[in-house]
Subunit: 132 residues, 2 copies
Amino acid sequence: MVQIQTLSKNQKIILDIIEKANEPLKAYSILFNVQKKGIKAPLQVYRALEKLIKLGKIHKVESRNAFVACKNSNCEISKATVFSICETCEKVTEISNQKLSKYLKNFHDKTGMTYKKYNLEFYGLCTTCKRS
Amino acid sequence: MVQIQTLSKNQKIILDIIEKANEPLKAYSILFNVQKKGIKAPLQVYRALEKLIKLGKIHKVESRNAFVACKNSNCEISKATVFSICETCEKVTEISNQKLSKYLKNFHDKTGMTYKKYNLEFYGLCTTCKRS
DNA sequence: ATAACGTTTGTTATAATATAACATATTTGA
DNA sequence: TCAAATATGTTATATTATAACAAACGTTAT
């Protein structure tokens, strides 16, 4: 049975804000932005974020404690994320590279551990910051 | 000139605890453990952690806000980390795989961004937890 | 030796990030 | 239609991390 997931009110509001932002958003900055829409408490934000992550609509950029909309797998549940992060301007880009994905999906270490998902973050200098 | 880095008192104390632990340690759990040694404030811990990371002696497991000793590059500054994390027992292992390291070191995306370092975290089930 | 510099320490206060616990409402599905 | 699952609202609190300032220490060049 195909599950068509409809988002709840809070989830829609929060996804909308994250999608419209062109940078990763922090939970409390999201909270600030949605207070006029009736979402008053951190927990309401965190609960929506949790669900949106589970659905693959957004990702958490772990090293930055920030959240970005998924640009790659349209509406699919994505458990494999790769980001490039500029350490100067903090610009974050989700990388979609088939070869890399395939390589990582098939990676297995000596221990025989099964990997269900991964998160890879590259840190460096973006082309703009490299110039200046 | 080769710089032989000697650690300061606090740095030694904190590195010692992290090295002796067989699991990632949280900053405040480290703090609790070193209070008998005179380290009383969070900032003292965080400052030592920051330095130890810079020296490559320890790594931060970003998704867990926890710190582990570097098992791989003995005393070298390590900017390329790969961890496997069991989502059930939370066991964390640093992975040292030459092929993977080489692959990631040479990776470059379309944008031309220069990567100085990366952090990769695999999540899954370790062999022990798989059995039960 | 000592001045100058960078690093480390100690300390208090506070900011930023995230979850617990409980009551109620809403949606979904057999 | 009623039971189960999901979502909401709310208050309180836990956890993680940094700001700001003053003092001590360590290294190096004179």
